[in-house]
Symmetry: C2
Subunit: 347 residues, 2 copies
């Protein structure tokens, strides 16, 4: 068995009768400015390829105080939005010949902090943070270590952030629901209801605002009872749905689910209703899951533009932005393909 002792630039230097620094420059493509002859460079590169040499990045990193690693911190992998982010992030990183290091911290502030420290110990070149429990703290740590960082999908009061335009998204979703609301509901049921979310949170607050504006524009008014910001807990939402149904004597003509969890609670509730009843209401969800398009009744959805969020974040990074800059990205409205599903449902 060939033990294949790891090759270094010294080996290459020896073999080509040159010196380590020449080899280094040649292999980094920096041979032009070092005015190394094309011929020497070629010889070096060729030999390196033949013995398939590859740099020791820890050594290079130690020397240059960089690493080629870029971090992304997120709450969990097991979530459609965050795995979309991971995907986009990976692509953007590789486009720049950086190595993505994506770490999930389970929404645990302590884990977040220690992960940041860990990554810093590896001299990562930049850090992106999505959905941290304690953004301010993280930003403070990064800042004091001079580590460039950008928040994604979450505004940090003192660092560059790129987030979805929740208000615009909510407005668009609300309008889509209103547009496809069935006519002829009893007066009690003839209105649109928003359910879920926490009004104290930035994202929810903007969404509620967008909802309200769209409803007012359409109806002239929006009653407080049309907004049930009961949090993100599915069970809680299910309860609220039950009592709403009782109060109204049926489903409201329009329903705005303020997150995928809430939407799933609705689905559980719907399981106990005859299918025909579902078709007499218009439904929207502020979140995206592909299976929404597979249901037997039409659902409008809002999908965050993960690619754009990520690419904007990289741009902020590369521009060297430091202060509290807030960039917003419009989400995408995925309108239910109306006819098809309703027809299918009743066929």
């Amino acid at each position: 068995m060939k033990t294949s002792q790891k090759q270094t630039i010294y080996d290459i230097a020896r073999e080509t009768g040159t010196s380590p620094s020449t080899v280094s420059a040649a292999l980094n493509g920096r041979w032009k400015e070092r005015r190394i002859s094309k011929e020497t460079a070629g010889r070096i590169i060729e030999l390196a390829r033949r013995m398939d040499y590859s740099v020791n990045r820890q050594a290079r990193g130690l020397r240059t105080a960089r690493s080629g690693l870029v971090g992304l911190i997120l709450p969990e992998h097991d979530n459609r939005f965050f795995s979309d982010l991971s995907q986009s992030f990976t692509l953007e990183a590789r486009r720049r010949s950086q190595c993505p290091v994506i770490i999930a911290t389970q929404r645990d502030p302590a884990a977040e902090e220690s992960t940041v420290q860990d990554l810093m110990a590896y001299s990562i070149d930049a850090l992106f943070i999505a959905g941290a429990a304690d953004p301010l703290r993280i930003s403070r740590i990064c800042r004091s270590a001079n580590l460039p960082h950008v928040f994604i999908d979450q505004p940090c009061p003192d660092a560059p952030s790129v987030i979805t335009d929740n208000e615009a998204g909510a407005r668009a979703l609300t309008e889509a629901i209103l547009d496809s609301m069935p006519t002829g509901a009893t007066p009690a049921r003839d209105r649109i209801i928003l359910i879920g979310g926490d009004a104290r949170l930035h994202a929810s607050a903007r969404r509620i605002e967008g909802f309200r504006k769209a409803v007012v524009a359409h109806t002239g008014r929006c009653d407080p009872e049309q907004i049930i910001a009961c949090g993100y807990e599915p069970d809680r939402a299910l309860d609220e749905m039950h009592s709403l149904y009782r109060r109204m004597g049926g489903l409201p003509a329009g329903l705005f689910a303020n997150s995928i969890n809430v939407f799933e609670a609705l689905l559980r509730f719907f399981a106990h209703l005859p299918e025909a009843e579902l078709l007499s209401t218009s439904i929207g969800c502020f979140d995206f899951e592909p299976y929404g398009e597979l249901l037997r009744f039409p659902v409008h959805m809002i999908r965050q533009r993960h690619r754009k969020l990520v690419s904007r974040a990289w741009e902020l990074m590369e521009e060297g932005t430091e202060g509290p800059v807030l960039v917003t990205v419009n989400p995408e409205l995925r309108r239910a393909r109306d006819g098809a599903a309703r027809a299918g449902g009743s066929a």
Copy 2:
């Protein structure tokens, strides 16, 4: 602004009036075997904490030829199973104070190979590979660099692998479907059909085998027409479903979808059927998506045990396994909560 020049063990040595090697040992918990006085060690550790020193891992890695990084290569993040793997992998890595580096390579063999090289340049301590396009090639590269590696969810002919027991899973799923198959279907429709998958692939082949065995055990025979291994393409599956429906004059009494893609094709097909008809068939899917439990008709599902797959893989790693060892893990059968959904569907 405090430029906070990065602190080193030399700084600590100077401050505590000790030497770098002593500091190093103290901070690594190796002070006992170096017989450093508890008092000195304490002083060092305390100071390090106060100035919140953290090692430069590139320096350490350069010296020790290790890094504390462990790689996981997978096809894509945006997939429930793989993001479950990522989640479990992260946890197992952190449990061992290793830093997980998870990279998606889009099922591109070239990307796989260059990613492996990249990771090796960082002196990763181990590599796990899930769903690579060219396992043999990867294993060869790792082997020649002496990099411990284990395959997950995919058998590699010359490296340790841990995979799901597809045959057992298929048998269990088939039995579940048979158990809940409605009685009284017309003779033509009174059978179970497997749809999807590619018989040439290891996984599919095992599943088909399990299906066949269960059917034979139950019915005494299993006709070739009961197995429609038409690949994993949803569109293709949809076509097959259409012609099956025409041939049989309705849905078969039992349906085994050989992957989530195929299952989604079935859902599209079902959208054109009256709900009552769905309730006259028993459905199973060899794959798991939580929304399956939210549908208005019952679906049995097979879920891979991602945690166990990952932990077994780590075990193989830690035991220093090298040869072609194959470990199998039983998947989990998620039986449809029968009564509820059917009741809900017809309420």
